[in-house]
Symmetry: C2
Subunit: 102 residues, 2 copies
């Protein structure tokens, strides 16, 4: 749990928004045919919603992944991103421990 890297990843309103969107798969278009079982979302869908360039979103998702907030799963040409709930909770616990008085 690298708090430094995680806070840095959160220090951007669109990256935080993406994490919120990913709470609910229905914030995005339906899964591509043959991928209905995956809860992840492909980069193109995120890009469309965030209205930023493909390279920027790819970069953002890389930062969120390195911070441990999302898990990337490649299926064919697509990379599906989904939240890493466990790591998100671990981050919150770490920040709480660091910020709160004993």
């Amino acid at each position: 749990m690298d708090v430094e890297k995680s806070i840095s990843a959160l220090n951007n309103p669109i990256r935080r928004r993406i994490l919120e969107w990913l709470k609910d798969r229905s914030n995005f278009p339906p899964a591509l045919p043959g991928h209905e079982d995956l809860e992840g979302v492909c980069v193109a869908y995120i890009q469309e919603k965030a209205k930023l360039s493909q390279s920027t979103i790819s970069n953002y998702m890389g930062l969120l992944k390195q911070a441990g907030f999302v898990i990337a799963e490649r299926h064919g040409q697509w990379t599906f991103y989904r939240r890493d709930e466990e790591n998100i909770q671990a981050f919150l616990a770490a920040v709480r421990d660091e910020l709160l008085k004993p």
Copy 2:
């Protein structure tokens, strides 16, 4: 509770360290004579511990104050900074609400 500003203020290891130091007044030299009743810490003490310039620390404390993490109280020539526990808890609650699934 401006999460944006707060995360930005936390996005620096030394500012986070200062918030930790401020948990315990005994991390700093004893209060100046006549100020024993104040739990706050003056800028010079923080500067000495952080080993950064006076202007940098003054700037940092301003950011932490604007973010709501500390309260500044001026007494004579000194500004005493102390943690704002209530706001810190409010920030943690806000981040938890934003990050955690419903």
